[in-house]
C-alpha cells in the first residue's frame, strides 16, 4: 500500500469511527435536540425523535465510509458535525462553548478531506499533479488539526474544569493516586503550552515527529474519557477519532509528498544527464 492509500485509510477510519461516535451521541442527546426543544419550541418527543433519525443517518454514513464511501454522504457527515458544533455554540451551557466550532474543526473537516483524498485517488493523475493535490490535502489536514489543538491548548491554559477532573479522576482510577487540584492546574498549563506550540508547528511546517506526537496525544486525551469515568464513555473516544487518526494521515501524506519530491528530483537529474 503506498503512502497516499495509507492516508486514505486513516481518513476512512477517522470518518467512520467518528460517525459511529456521533450517532451514539445523537441517541443519548446533543445540542441539536436541545436547540429544537428550547429554541424552536418543538415538543420534547419530536426533538428527540428528530435527533434519533439524524443519528441513524450518521450511523449509515459511518458504515458506508468503511464499506463503500459515497461522497455526498460524506458531505452529510461534515454538515452534521458542523451542525452539532454550531448548535453547541448557540445553545451553550458548557465551558468554552464560544470556541466550539474551533474545537470541533478537525471533526468537521475530516469527512471533507476524505472526499478530497478519494478524488485524488480516483483521478490517478501523473505523479506531479497528484503530489500537488496531496500537498493541498496535507495543508487542509494540518491546519484543521492545528485549529483544534490550539483551541484545546487555550482551554487547558484557561483551567478547563473538565480537564482538571480528567487528570485527577484518571490518576485515581489508573494508579490509585490522588493528584491535587493545584498540581493538575500546573500540568494543564504545560499541556496547554505544548498543544499551542505543536499546533503552530504543524500549521507552519508539517513535520512527521510533531504529527506523531499529536496523534499519540490525541489518543491519550480521547482515552482519558474512559480512564476517568469508565467504559461507558466510549462514544467520546469514538467521536474524537480525527484527533488521533488525522495526524497519522498527515504522517502518511508527508511521506507521500517527500518521496514524490525525491522521485521528481531524481527524474529531473536523469533527464538532464547528471
Amino acid at each position: 500500500m503506498d503512502n497516499l492509500n495509507k492516508a486514505i485509510t486513516c481518513l476512512r477510519l477517522a470518518t467512520g469511527v467518528m460517525c459511529l461516535g456521533l450517532a451514539l451521541n445523537a441517541f443519548s442527546g446533543t445540542a441539536i435536540g436541545t436547540f429544537l426543544f428550547m429554541e424552536w419550541e418543538w415538543s420534547h418527543h419530536s426533538s428527540v425523535r428528530t435527533e434519533h433519525i439524524m443519528g441513524y443517518i450518521v450511523l449509515a454514513v459511518g458504515v458506508s465510509s468503511f464499506l463503500y464511501p459515497v461522497r455526498p454522504l460524506l458531505a452529510v457527515a461534515a454538515v452534521y458535525a458542523f451542525l452539532v458544533a454550531y448548535l453547541g455554540y448557540k445553545t451553550g451551557g458548557y465551558h468554552f462553548s464560544e470556541y466550539t466550532l474551533f474545537a470541533y474543526f478537525v471533526r468537521i473537516v475530516t469527512p471533507l478531506a476524505f472526499i478530497l483524498a478519494l478524488f485524488i485517488q480516483k483521478k490517478n493523475w501523473i505523479q506531479d499533479r497528484s503530489r500537488s493535490w496531496a500537498k493541498v490535502l496535507l495543508r487542509v489536514l494540518s491546519i484543521s488539526l492545528a485549529i483544534t489543538f490550539f483551541t484545546h491548548g487555550v482551554e487547558a491554559i484557561g483551567s478547563h474544569p473538565f480537564f482538571i477532573d480528567m487528570i485527577i479522576g484518571s490518576g485515581i482510577n489508573l494508579m490509585g493516586l490522588y493528584i491535587p487540584e493545584s498540581v493538575a492546574l500546573q500540568a494543564l498549563f504545560v499541556i496547554g503550552c505544548v498543544d499551542i506550540l505543536t499546533s503552530l508547528w504543524i500549521a507552519i511546517r508539517p513535520n512527521i515527529y510533531v504529527a506523531f506526537w499529536m496523534g499519540t496525544w490525541g489518543l491519550v486525551t480521547a482515552m482519558a474519557r474512559i480512564t476517568e469515568t469508565g467504559w461507558m464513555s466510549y462514544p467520546e473516544v469514538l467521536v474524537r477519532a480525527p484527533h488521533y487518526l488525522v495526524p497519522l494521515a498527515v504522517v502518511a501524506l508527508l511521506f507521500f509528498v517527500e518521496k514524490k519530491e525525491e522521485y521528481r528530483v531524481n527524474t529531473l537529474a536523469t533527464d538532464i544527464g547528471i
Binding site: S28, G29, F37, M38, E39, E41, H44, H45, V48, K90, T91, G92, G93, Y94, H95, P161, F162, I164, D165, I168, G169, I172, P180, E181, A184, R225, E228, T229, G230, M232, S233, E236
Partner: protein, 442 residues
C-alpha cells in the same frame, strides 16, 4: 404655468421638510430609545436577599441601579419604620458595586445598562423579622422584610427548585413571548409563602437564565419580585451555579459576601442548629478541592445535624438526560460515595427540566438506607419527557414532566417533601424518617 412652477417648488419643499424630519428623528433616536428602555420606576431595582453560611445572623442585600452608585446604605430594623430612615436602628454601607458587563446581545435587546450593588447585614438576631430599605444615591426603595433563620431547633420549611430559564437564547419578554411559566411559579411561591410563614427561603438548584448575561438576569430579577408577598415579605435565595450560569454576570449579581471566595459557589448554610444545606457547584472541578472540602464538611456536619441536605445542578441520577454523561458520571463517582458514607438525607438536583424523586439509592442500587434524589428543575423552564424506564425512578420513586417547586418541611420526626405544581396541586408527597434517630435507637 402656475402649476408648472408650483410642482418643482412643492417637491423641493417636501424634500426639505422630509430631510428636516429625518434629521430630527435621528437626533431624537437616542432619547426615544432611552425612554423605551428606561425602567418604569425610580429607585433601587431588583432588591433581593441572599443567604449564605449563617442565615440566622447574616444576609446579603443586593440591588440594581441604572447609573453608577456613589453612595448607598441599607437601613434595617426588627420593627417597621415605614421608610423613615432616621428611625431605623441599624444600617449597613454599600460593600461592592460596579457596572454590569454587557454583551453585544444585551445591547441588541436594549436591556437597560445596569450596576450591581451589594451590602451585608451582619449581627442579626435569629428568627426575627427584619424590615429594610435601600437608599441608593438619595433614592429609597419601598420597605420590605424577611425573617432570619432560627438558631433554635425549630421546625422550618424551605422551597427548593431549579431551572427558571426561558426557552430561547434571546429573552422573550412582555409583548414578544411572555415568560408566563416562570412568573406563574413565582406567584405560586408568593401565595404559598403568605399562607405558610414557616417557609424561610428558596434554595435554587441553578440555571437561573439561559445565560447569566444581563438580558436574562435583568428579567429574572424582575420576575423574582413576584415572589414578594403583599405585606412585603421577601423570599431569601440560597444560590447554586449551573451550566447556564457561567458568565461573569453571575458573579457580579450573586455576591455571597466577604467570607466566601468569589466564583467558588460551594458552601454550607446552617438553616437551624439541626438542619444543614450543602450547596455544591458542578461547574468547577468536581474531583479536586471541592471534593476534599465536601468530605470534611459532611464529616463534621453529619453528627451534629438531624437533617443534612445537599443541592447542586447536574444530576447524578438523571431522569431525562444521558445517564453516562460526563458530569453525571463524575457526580456519581466522586460525590455520591460521600453522600452515602455520611448518610445525607436528601439530595436536590436540577438540569433535566422535569420532576423526579428517586428510590433510596446506595451502592448504585435500591437500598432503603440509601439517599433519595429529588428535583431536576421546573421553575418555569420548558419541561421534557422523562424516561420512566430507568430503575431509579420506579415506585416508590417517581418521574414526570411538570412545572413544580418543592416544599420541604424539616420537622423533628420527619422530613416531608412535597412537589407543588403550577396549579397548586401536590404532585408528589413523601416523608423520610431522621437517620440519626434510627442510628441512636440501634
Amino acid at each position: 404655468m402656475n402649476t408648472n412652477n408650483a410642482q418643482p417648488f412643492s417637491a423641493y419643499k417636501i424634500y426639505i421638510v422630509s430631510m428636516i424630519n429625518i434629521v430630527v428623528l435621528l437626533g431624537l433616536m437616542p432619547i426615544l430609545s432611552a425612554i423605551a428602555v428606561t425602567p418604569d420606576r425610580e429607585g433601587p431595582y431588583h432588591v433581593r436577599i441572599l443567604w449564605t453560611q449563617n442565615p440566622s445572623k447574616h444576609a446579603v442585600v443586593s440591588w440594581t441601579t441604572f447609573s453608577a452608585t456613589q453612595k448607598a446604605t441599607v437601613y434595617f430594623d426588627t420593627q417597621s419604620r415605614e421608610g423613615d430612615l432616621a428611625a431605623y436602628t441599624h444600617k449597613s454601607e454599600l460593600a461592592l458595586t460596579g457596572e454590569i458587563t454587557l454583551t453585544d446581545s444585551d445591547m441588541e435587546m436594549e436591556v437597560p445598562r445596569g450596576h450591581y450593588n451589594h451590602a451585608e447585614m451582619k449581627g442579626l438576631n435569629a428568627d426575627s423579622r427584619y424590615y429594610f430599605v435601600v437608599e441608593s444615591d438619595g433614592k429609597v426603595s419601598e420597605e420590605m422584610y424577611f425573617i432570619t433563620a432560627p438558631d433554635s431547633d425549630k421546625e422550618i420549611s424551605l422551597f427548593w427548585g431549579g431551572d427558571s430559564r426561558m426557552g430561547a437564547a434571546d429573552p422573550r419578554y412582555a409583548g414578544v413571548h411572555p415568560h408566563e411559566n416562570r412568573k406563574a411559579m413565582n406567584r405560586l411561591m408568593s401565595e404559598l409563602l403568605a399562607e405558610n410563614p414557616n417557609i424561610y427561603a428558596l434554595a435554587h438548584g441553578a440555571d437561573w437564565g439561559v445565560t447569566a448575561d444581563w438580558r436574562h438576569l435583568y428579567w429574572w430579577f424582575h420576575d423574582h419580585e413576584l415572589t414578594t408577598t403583599e405585606d412585603g415579605r421577601v423570599l431569601p435565595l440560597i444560590a447554586s451555579r449551573g451550566n447556564h450560569d457561567r458568565s461573569i454576570g453571575f458573579e457580579e449579581n450573586f455576591w455571597l459576601g466577604e467570607d466566601l471566595p468569589t466564583g467558588q459557589y460551594y458552601y454550607t448554610s446552617q438553616l437551624t442548629p439541626e438542619v444543614a444545606l450543602v450547596t455544591l457547584n458542578t461547574e468547577v472541578s468536581i474531583t479536586g478541592d471541592q471534593r476534599q472540602w465536601l468530605e470534611k464538611e459532611l464529616a463534621s456536619l453529619r453528627p451534629n445535624n438531624r437533617w443534612l441536605m445537599v443541592q447542586y445542578h447536574v444530576p447524578a441520577y438523571p431522569a431525562v438526560k444521558d445517564f453516562n454523561a460526563t458530569t453525571a458520571s463524575r457526580v456519581r463517582n466522586f460525590w455520591v460515595p460521600l453522600f452515602e458514607e455520611y448518610q445525607v438525607d436528601l439530595a436536590a438536583e436540577a438540569d433535566g427540566h422535569c420532576l423526579k424523586r428517586t428510590l433510596p439509592i446506595k451502592g448504585g442500587k435500591h437500598d432503603p438506607e440509601g439517599v433519595i434524589y429529588i428535583g431536576e428543575g421546573g421553575l418555569g423552564v420548558p419541561q421534557r419527557e422523562t424516561d420512566n424506564s430507568r430503575w431509579f425512578v420506579q415506585e416508590p420513586g417517581m418521574a414526570t414532566s411538570a412545572h413544580h417547586v418543592f416544599l420541604i418541611d424539616f420537622r423533628m420526626d420527619g422530613l416531608r417533601t412535597r412537589a407543588i405544581g403550577m396549579d397548586k396541586k401536590v404532585l408528589d408527597d413523601h416523608e423520610l424518617q431522621p437517620r440519626m434517630v434510627a442510628s441512636q435507637v440501634e
